[in-house]
Point group: C2
Chain length 241, copies 2
DNA sequence: GTCTCTCCTCTTGTATACTAGTAACCAAGA
DNA sequence: TCTTGGTTACTAGTATACAAGAGGAGAGAC
């Protein structure tokens, strides 16, 4: 699994790494829509390599829940499973709320400067309406906070889980005002971390992450064809053995 | 990563699945010690298959942090990285403490019966000194509690993270009295979940998981040659960009 | 004795050929 | 018209062959 080791596919040959990054990005940004057929041969031709590295990439993306490999039939872009999205949100929220608490306890003067730099980056990205750059700066800030908490490597794990959330985020194509609201939430988080207000930071982080989650539920209601599984909240399931 | 989709290697051909299970178990139980060389050819002969499925298994285990693939050189059983162990513990503790809180809120009459069944299984395993059976029942109970909380699929994620902890657990070869202590902790958790005492259940779970952690530090002190990286606790790292 | 260069062997990375299973299509019959 | 049978095309799974790099052993020079 992704924790522990540096980056997932980055250890392999250059072909694998490149193809992995490209395909993952195309899936997350919904350039490849859920359900799209993905058989190995066309992509090996497209990237100018043999089936082997493409196959390795497919396998890895399937492990991440982004592809679905059906033996002897084909490989398809996985539908967005609402259950998986809910679970991913739960994991991310639980871990990041805990780490931001620790971050607030740990943050020193240097962290203050660094965090303000991240906010500046985001402010500029909004000014230039550069969504990708904003998302990058967003990710970097979350990564940084987890590092300040003392557990930098778990960002890798969150990254994997977050893939499901990002897919929805890109699909919902949000703009303008929404970015400002996210940014204000970031400001509040940073403020409380710098102040050392652990409880307040946790609250701010939870509200932040949950507001992103609202986007998801809105999309699930508007475009149910992209999803698989019911929308209902989890029910206590005490009947399993 | 591993969340979202059912089991990791279970989707592949029978060869891959079988080899994956076998090798993973051998690594976790320290039958294959950290540092052992693992080149592809001998194992393909041993399992009577070609390099391809073995290679796929190696890559998957490398993703889990159990193998380390060095291109053009060889593949080795990964050393136990203390940092990774600490991080794994953090993730598991954070997630399971949260889920047990929810479980305590959700648990109904059926859960009560099921949980008591799990305890009975464990009691018998201890009576028979059957370590493997105890570990299995242990895992099943944790899985069940996460299911009651409403997020059954995140057990997959914890499972992956837990691999690092399990390696240490098997290496330290604990016995007798230790099992009883674990069992008592389980009893306390179950008791509080059934009572609906969310806070109490969380506390019990945290103490339970952290006690496993003590084992780790003991082993790290006794057999440092199996480990890689320093033993010190995490330090706030606010210097990263 | 020691250092260096070369070559050989072993490793993983990649390409290609072969196997086997699925599904869709089409035709023949009721 | 519907059903059923077989044929065909396509898929992923596996085996094997080849390429490229790392590392160690051994020979030679100093």
């Amino acid at each position: 699994m992704a924790l522990i080791n540096e980056n997932a596919a980055r250890r392999s040959g250059p072909a694998v790494r490149e193809i992995y990054d490209a395909l993952r990005h195309r899936i997350l940004t919904a350039d490849l829509m859920p359900g799209t057929g993905m058989s190995e041969v066309p992509y090996s031709e497209q990237f100018g390599v043999s089936r082997t590295p493409v196959r390795e990439v497919f396998r890895r993306l399937a492990d991440e829940g982004l592809l679905r490999i059906v033996p002897q039939v084909g490989t398809f872009v996985a539908p967005i499973q609402l259950r998986a999205v809910y679970d991913s949100q739960f994991v991310r929220e639980t871990l990041e709320c805990r780490t931001v608490t620790l971050a607030a306890a740990n943050a020193g003067g240097r962290a203050r400067d660094d965090l303000e730099d991240f906010l500046t980056l985001q402010r500029r990205a909004i000014r230039d309406s550069d969504l990708q750059r904003f998302f990058d700066a967003d990710d970097k800030m979350h990564t940084y906070l987890i590092g300040v908490a003392g557990y930098p490597s778990i960002w890798e794990l969150i990254q994997g889980v977050k893939a499901q959330l990002d897919r929805v985020r890109y699909l919902s194509l949000e703009s303008g005002d929404w970015l400002n609201r996210i940014f204000e939430q970031h400001e509040l988080i940073v403020k409380r971390v710098i102040e050392g207000d652990a409880t307040g930071a946790e609250t701010a982080m939870r509200e932040h992450l949950q507001s992103v989650f609202l986007t998801i539920e809105r999309l699930a209601n508007n475009k149910p064809e992209l999803f698989e599984g019911s929308l209902g909240p989890h029910v206590s399931n005490a009947s399993k053995s």
